[in-house]
């Protein structure tokens, strides 16, 4: 919402400082988004009277003017064709700097010294030139500051208005807040030249008439109140300077006096109005009803609309002439030939307007305000002021007005317990202060049995309950005037999400291994038939929720390759989605994914040649360790070239292996894994007593038949070696024809908890192991 500081100032009858107003409004709940001084750079320009115009002796198109600047008469060369003796113009003296930075000096133009410049609108930053220099229609004496003579200097303040405060969408509502802050009265100044005898519109139930024009509400649900005034004999033309300046100051474009007057009231009182050309209304009548099937209307923006039966239309005796609360129709538009006007001032039901403007995909200043709820109670006053302004700027006379109001409603009363104020706000606010605060912004307050009966003015539709009033008290007292004081509190009874613990453990593991945590974008193209599709995506490339983390990780990998980062180590903890099994909500699973590619360690000068690259064995170990922390106590088993994680029930809940990616020739292979994070029981570490006896080591090199896997061998070793076998770990693999295929060497460590093992004891166990391996897996000792 754009505000003019002058406008506000006129209602408070005092000068205002833009910065201070901004602070006050922020404290009132309407923060300032922008503030701009308008035309303040014209401070040195003055009003001057051209006393005499002669032709320039050396140039046909130039004039030599005798200019009275209030203190002396100087000679100025002027090139404008419209310069006329006896008229006033804006004049920039020698030494003045104009908008755009031009600093005026005395200089010779075609042999004649020119002192300063008579200015055009463009040179003053006031718009485009039409006829040369700007002719001033003012009584101000020569030498008067241009800004004092013309209502141009102003500040534009742009505030952010929250959806609950429609009253702040008009200058009057904003001025009301400022009046409360400054403790001054709020008064709307009368318009120069306005009639003083405009009467309040005549009340009618469901239908009435204004100067012979029937006004009828058939859709009272969509339109609870409709006021109309008939003004005859208007002359459509440009608005006076002050009105144009006000509208320009808030960024609105002046159009003609009728439209400008309605816009002015819109921005002043937050009451949208619409002016119909009475001559073009059939009947003449106004019927407020729902659209009928087959009806069409061409709105002011030239678009043909086909309203549905849920939309309220303003119609004449036969056809729609406006989409209620959204936009008028071309068929009844005011034109330069218009002489008689029907001025509409209505209240439309917010939800109806919201639905209509959404369906029509058109939002206007009017619909924006109706949708938020305007002041139902003040419509008659708004109409009266609108009529005053219209007659003041466009002439004519009011010949009748009507206020059709089928079911009048009173201002609601809300009760406020003063002890509840203290309870919620944490400090006792004296009753007197509560009353004073509420009254200052227009509430009427009366004490009633330990409570306050508070009457809510029509412009505050947001206030419906006690807590709304408590907020008003807090707001008007000032949020900053409440203490910051830590008081006793009880800790939460809500347990921590156990998943955070698991996530922390995983993060520690993987950052410890040199991987960076990343977060990839969870929307993408369809990757799986199980993917959840968005009903209203922003683009086809972002139309599905991810079912896996690896596509995002591969994208990140490729991004790094694209920026010539060859060593990539990333992991992500994130939610993946699948279509719902039952119920409505998609299935969400917390996943862990990782990708590594490139050097396994940073290069170092002690290791010549190429650093060791990550390979599948790195990723297998990472996978196994991550699975131990987060993997449902599952088992990592071989799966093709990679591995998969199976939980206790055999369900696959993760995989690891080489990744397919768009790899440049210079980049290393990429490996990755992904697994469902399972939040199980908290693992409690129980200390194992340190061994008091020495270990005995034996190395076994075994020749394995094709198809025999290391884990099978180890299973046998553990079974047969128990209880003396402590660990067994493969430490070497050797493949050659000589040994008859593949030989793998294991280091076995034996220990007895209660005594030092003798060699013979260990030899006997080893012999048994070897024997069993031969028997079960046809594995034999390698002869070297």
């Amino acid at each position: 919402m754009n505000l003019s500081l002058n406008w506000l100032s006129s209602m408070l009858n005092r000068s205002l400082d833009a910065r201070e107003v901004g602070d006050l409004l922020a404290r009132a709940g309407a923060p300032v988004e922008a503030e701009e001084a308008l035309h303040q750079d014209l401070g040195d320009v003055i009003v001057a009277l051209v006393e005499k115009v002669d032709k320039h002796p050396n140039a046909d198109r130039l004039s030599l003017c005798q200019v009275n600047d209030g203190s002396s008469v100087v000679e100025v060369v002027c090139g404008a064709p419209n310069v006329t003796a006896g008229k006033k113009y804006p004049y920039a003296r020698v030494g003045t700097t104009l908008p755009g930075g031009l600093k005026l000096e005395s200089r010779k133009i075609r042999g004649v010294l020119s002192n300063g410049m008579l200015c055009s609108a463009k040179e003053l930053g006031l718009g485009v030139d039409h006829d040369g220099i700007l002719e001033l229609n003012t009584d101000a004496a020569p030498g008067t500051r241009f800004l004092d003579a013309m209502p141009l200097a102003d500040h534009r303040i742009t505030i952010e208005v929250t959806a609950n405060r429609p009253d702040l969408l008009g200058h009057k509502g904003v001025a009301r807040e400022l009046a409360a802050a400054y403790g001054v009265p709020l008064r709307l100044p009368p318009f120069p030249g306005a009639p003083t005898d405009v009467r309040e519109a005549t009340r009618a139930k469901g239908a009435g008439a204004a100067d012979g024009v029937e006004v009828r509400i058939e859709d009272a649900e969509g339109c609870p109140r409709y006021l109309a005034a008939v003004i005859r004999g208007v002359k459509v033309g440009p608005s006076p300077d002050w009105l144009q300046a006000r509208l320009r100051a808030i960024g609105a474009r002046p159009i003609n006096n009728v439209v400008d007057a309605t816009n002015y009231i819109l921005f002043e009182l937050n009451q949208p109005l619409h002016a119909f050309d009475l001559a073009r209304l059939k009947g003449p009548a106004i019927v407020v009803r729902r659209a009928k099937p087959g009806e069409r209307i061409t709105t002011l923006d030239g678009v043909v609309r086909v309203p549905d039966g849920e939309m309220t239309m303003i119609c004449d005796a036969t056809t729609p002439v406006a989409v209620a609360g959204v936009m008028g129709g071309q068929n009844s538009e005011v034109s330069s030939d218009t002489t008689d006007i029907l001025l509409e001032c209505a209240y439309f039901e917010p939800r109806r307007i919201r639905r209509t403007r959404k369906a029509l995909k058109t939002s206007t200043e009017a619909s924006y305000r109706f949708e938020r709820g305007i002041d139902l109670q003040s419509a008659p006053a708004a109409l009266r002021r609108a009529v005053e302004l219209l007659v003041a700027v466009a002439g004519g006379t009011v010949t009748g007005s009507v206020d059709v109001y089928p079911s009048p409603v009173h201002e609601p009363t809300v009760f406020l317990r003063t002890d509840r104020v203290a309870h919620l706000l944490g400090v006792a606010v004296p009753v007197g202060d509560i009353e004073r605060h509420l009254v200052s912004v227009g509430f009427a307050v009366a004490p009633k049995d330990h409570r306050l009966a508070v009457q809510v003015p029509g412009w505050r539709p947001d206030v419906t309950g006690e807590v709304d009033l408590i907020e008003e008290v807090a707001r008007l007292r000032g949020y900053d005037n409440f203490p910051v004081e830590i008081r006793a509190f009880r800790p939460s009874t809500v347990p921590d999400d156990p998943g955070e613990r698991v996530k922390d453990a995983v993060r520690r593991l993987l950052t410890g291994r040199g991987l960076h945590e990343t977060r990839s974008f969870p929307l993408g193209a369809q990757g799986s038939p199980e993917a959840v599709e968005l009903e209203n995506p922003m683009s086809a490339e972002e139309a599905y929720l991810r079912t896996d983390l690896s596509p995002g990780l591969v994208r990140a990998l490729e991004h790094n390759w694209a920026v010539r980062e060859r060593d990539v180590r990333l992991f992500e903890l994130g939610i993946v989605f699948r279509k719902p099994n039952a119920g409505k909500r998609p299935v969400e699973t917390l996943r862990l994914g990782a990708v590594v590619s490139g050097a396994r360690t940073p290069s170092h000068w002690t290791v010549s040649g190429k650093a060791l690259q990550y390979d599948r064995w790195d990723v297998k170990a990472l996978f196994e360790e991550a699975a131990a922390l987060a993997g449902a106590f599952g088992r990592v088993v071989e799966d093709g070239d990679g591995w998969k994680l199976e939980d206790a029930s055999g369900r696959v809940c993760g995989w690891a292996g080489e990744l397919t990616a768009d790899r440049p020739a210079w980049a290393a292979s990429a490996f990755g894994f992904e697994l469902d994070v399972h939040v199980g029981q908290r693992r409690v570490v129980v200390f194992a007593p340190l061994p008091g006896t020495p270990p005995v080591e034996r190395d076994l090199a075994l020749v394995l038949k094709p198809g025999v896997r290391a884990d099978q061998v180890e299973a046998v070793m553990r079974r047969v070696g128990a209880p003396l076998l402590e660990t067994c770990r493969a430490f070497d693999e050797y493949r050659s024809e000589q040994v008859g295929g593949r030989s793998v060497a294991w280091r076995l460590v034996f220990r007895a908890g209660d005594r030092t093992l003798r060699d013979e004891e260990v030899d006997a166990v080893v012999k048994k192991i070897v024997g069993t391996l031969k028997e079960e897996l046809d594995a034999r000792l390698r002869e070297s």
């Binding site: 706000l425 900053d480 008081r487 939460s492 009874t493 991987l515 409505k584 909500r585």
Partner: protein, 335 residues
């Protein structure tokens, strides 16, 4: 036996001058497991008399230790680059390992949660796909009110949507727990906003909720003030201004003194000297009622902030898109 020991001792003297290959040979010939001379000698020990075994055994073991130590030292000397160990260039870089970093959003979220833990808040999470009921209705947001326009929503079918804020967890927590409730809820949220340097259709939010008997606006202000001063600096000025969110009343917007210019005005704070960091307020009684709590008995406060925005301020990150790219050069800065 004693002679053999002496022979071995003199043979071992060569260790000090041996080159790498000779050293390897010596290691095998002296200490080799199968045919090492000293190994063999030690195997003979059991054949000696008790007395001899004691003295010679001790000597032999001592010799073994000495030879092992000498070989060790020689190996180390040979491993130094200059060979003689004379001129080690200590200015050469040390041997590093990769060091992983947490995502800046994780760092910020963890820190925020930690600070609120000091105020008795626990940490919970909730679903990202939500129902209209939890995302809007229970929070007193009416879809036919303009207040809902601020949250342009992605729908995924059957009235299910991607949560537009973490606030649905207010309702879920209140429905399943008895006060005193104090929780913070970090998580990802979704809005139909186009990507630009400060907006993303997916972003992180962190919700807070405190509900108990007798919690007031003063408690709310104190908690937020405590957080801001712990997270930023002790002298950071905090400002509370009225604002509107349908699920809080009184509603507030919290601003902190600009971290860039310390309040003097700069481009980050649009010359205002302050930055908006969260929306907050006292829980609206209607929300209590819709979540099954007695709105007369309980009061509370709630707040929501954007960890990405806070991370951008803290680390001076200019573009929100950096958070999603997985760029090693970006992520590596947060170790």
């Amino acid at each position: 036996m004693r002679d053999k020991l002496n022979d071995l001792a003199s043979a071992a003297a060569e260790i000090a001058t041996a080159d790498a290959s000779r050293l390897a040979e010596l290691k095998v010939s002296l200490l080799g497991r199968k045919a090492g001379k000293l190994t063999e000698l030690l195997r003979e020990l059991p054949t000696l008399s008790h007395e001899e075994r004691r003295t010679l055994g001790a000597q032999a073991n001592e010799l073994k230790k000495k030879i092992e130590a000498d070989i060790d030292e020689r190996e180390r000397t040979l491993a130094t680059p200059s060979g003689a160990g004379a001129d080690v260039d200590g200015s050469m870089p040390g041997r590093q390992a990769w060091r992983g970093a947490l995502h800046p959003v994780t760092l910020v979220v963890d820190e925020i949660c930690e600070i609120f833990r000091e105020l008795g808040f626990s940490r919970v999470t909730g679903p990202e796909a939500e129902t209209e009921e939890y995302n809007f209705t229970k929070l007193n947001i009416s879809l036919d009110h303009p207040a809902a326009d601020a949250q342009d929503t992605f729908y995924v079918g059957q009235g299910t949507l991607l949560r537009t804020h973490t606030s649905p967890m207010q309702a879920r927590v209140m429905e399943t727990n008895k006060p005193p409730i104090r929780v913070v809820v970090p998580g990802q949220v979704y809005r139909r906003d186009a990507f630009d340097p400060s907006h993303s259709p997916v972003f992180e939010q962190l919700e807070g909720l405190a509900v108990d008997e007798g919690l007031s606006f003063v408690d709310f202000k104190a908690a937020i003030d405590y957080f801001v001063k712990r997270f930023f600096t002790r002298d950071t000025v905090v400002r509370f201004e009225p604002s509107f969110f349908p699920f809080v009343e009184p509603g507030a917007q919290v601003q902190v003194q600009c971290v860039m210019c310390r309040g003097s005005g700069c481009s980050t704070c649009k010359q205002s000297g302050f930055l908006e960091i969260m929306g907050a307020g006292m829980v609206h009684p209607e929300v209590f009622t819709r979540c099954g709590l007695d709105a007369e008995r309980y009061t509370g406060y709630a707040f929501g902030m954007g960890p990405q925005r806070i991370a951008m301020l803290r680390y001076r990150i200019p573009d929100i898109r950096l958070f999603f790219e997985g760029d090693m050069r970006f992520l590596g800065q947060f170790t």
